[in-house]
């Protein structure tokens, strides 16, 4: 199973980006093979609107079934939910630490968006 992490970096010791929609990259970690790939999300950094929606699409296309990020807005939450992706909030501080927390089962699954949208 694959897990997506929002991050500005390209390695597991990179910080977990607490923003989801405007994260620069996603690390897609494969629990089965214990390998990961990096997906670029910079197209969304300067998007006027719709960044959360498009980031959610990117994560859905990556094949990830779990997302670990700092926060998630209402539109992104709807898209992730429709794609059947579980969302977990973590404070990191790194991708590796968030991954470890997930493995230990210490992250609680998000029941809803935890921040307001920027355009509604």
């Amino acid at each position: 199973m694959k897990i997506a992490f929002s991050t500005p970096g390209s390695k597991l010791d990179a910080p977990l980006d607490t923003r989801f929609g405007r994260a620069a990259k996603f690390i897609i970690y494969d629990l089965d093979s214990e390998t990961f790939e990096v997906m670029d999300n910079r197209q969304n950094l300067n998007a006027a609107q719709g960044a959360g929606i498009q980031s959610a699409e990117t994560v859905a296309r990556s094949g990830a079934k779990v997302l670990v990020s700092g926060h998630c807005g209402p539109k992104a939450f709807r898209v992730l939910q429709a794609a059947g992706i579980q969302i977990f909030y973590s404070e990191g501080p790194t991708v590796a630490a968030a991954l470890e927390s997930y493995r230990q089962g210490s992250l609680a699954e998000a029941a809803g968006a935890d921040v307001e949208g920027h355009w509604v």
Binding site: Q49, G50, I53, A56, A60, R78, A82, A83, W119
Partner: protein, 288 residues
């Protein structure tokens, strides 16, 4: 002839110029307040015969029984207002610009359209002026379709003055398109000049004839004047930095009524815009 009054910087005096120009027009004129996020021209005109009409845009409505989740709609939408990846599409109506593209590209004909109200158009009258103003609903972030609806109220002939929103973004472009002449209002300060340059770049990109009005002449410095001279931009009018103008404004009074000595300024502004627009037309005709 359609004259649009715009600016880079906000608060330079677009509405002041628009309403006083409109009142100084010797004949009937339509004044369109295109700053639909915060229309204010009505504050300076005692209006009556109010009419109001709702303005909707068409947003997608998905018939899920006909959708096979192909995702064409989501790939088409530039604004992510409809999203699908092998699933039934999700619609974010508040992101939709109402282009209708998703319904057209859907191979199953599963997407219909439904109205979503974005604001109202209010029409009223004040002596020689018919005021048509758009008012965007609170929470709606979609000014251009409402501005286009306001402009659709313009008949083919007659004079119209368009009071534009500040800045150089989509709502301003939607206002300026199809104008015959653009009046750029600025103040003679470094900030005013900075944003005037952005506005000049914008109207040149749109290939519209334009000139500059300097408001609060007497404050700041002469850099706006130097810029206009160097760039060969007509300086249409200087409105002095007169405290009485601000006082009249604060009472919601027209400058040309509270301070009749300024009437001739606006009459000459109207004459200049008409003359300059005619010159541009003639040079186009000769070139064509």
């Amino acid at each position: 002839m359609i004259v649009a009054v715009a600016s880079g910087k906000g608060g330079t005096g677009k509405t002041t110029v628009s309403v006083n120009m409109a009142r100084s027009q010797g004949s009937k004129v339509r004044l369109l307040d295109c700053d639909v996020e915060e229309p204010n021209a009505h504050l300076f005109l005692r209006t009556d015969q109010h009419e109001q009409q709702e303005v909707p845009i068409r947003v997608p409505q998905v018939d899920e029984s006909r959708c096979d989740g192909c995702g064409e709609c989501g790939r088409f939408c530039a604004y992510h207002a409809i999203v699908s990846f092998g699933t039934k599409p999700l619609v974010f109506a508040e992101m939709c610009h109402g282009c209708g593209g998703c319904a057209k590209v859907c191979p199953k004909g599963a997407i219909g359209e439904t109205d979503r109200r974005i604001g109202v158009i209010e029409t009223s009258r004040s002596e020689n002026i018919t005021l048509i103003q758009g008012r965007l609903d609170v929470g709606v972030a979609m000014a251009p379709p409402l501005i286009r609806a306001v402009k659709a109220r313009l008949p083919g002939a007659g004079h119209a003055i368009l009071d534009a929103p500040p800045g150089t973004s989509c709502p301003v472009i939607a206002t300026l398109r199809d104008a015959d002449y653009v009046v750029l209002v600025t103040e003679p300060t470094p900030f005013g000049l900075h944003d005037l340059k952005l506005a000049v770049d914008m109207v040149r990109e749109l290939d519209l004839p334009f000139g500059v009005v300097v408001n609060r002449y007497g404050v700041g410095d002469d850099r706006v004047h130097v810029f206009c001279r160097e760039q060969n931009i007509p300086l249409l009018l200087e409105i002095p930095d007169d405290r009485r103008i601000a006082e009249a404004y604060s009472r919601g009074e027209l400058m040309v009524e509270a301070l009749p000595e300024y009437r001739s300024l606006f009459q000459s502004l109207i004459a200049k815009t008409m003359l300059l627009e005619t010159e541009v037309q003639e040079s186009h005709n000769q070139a064509g």
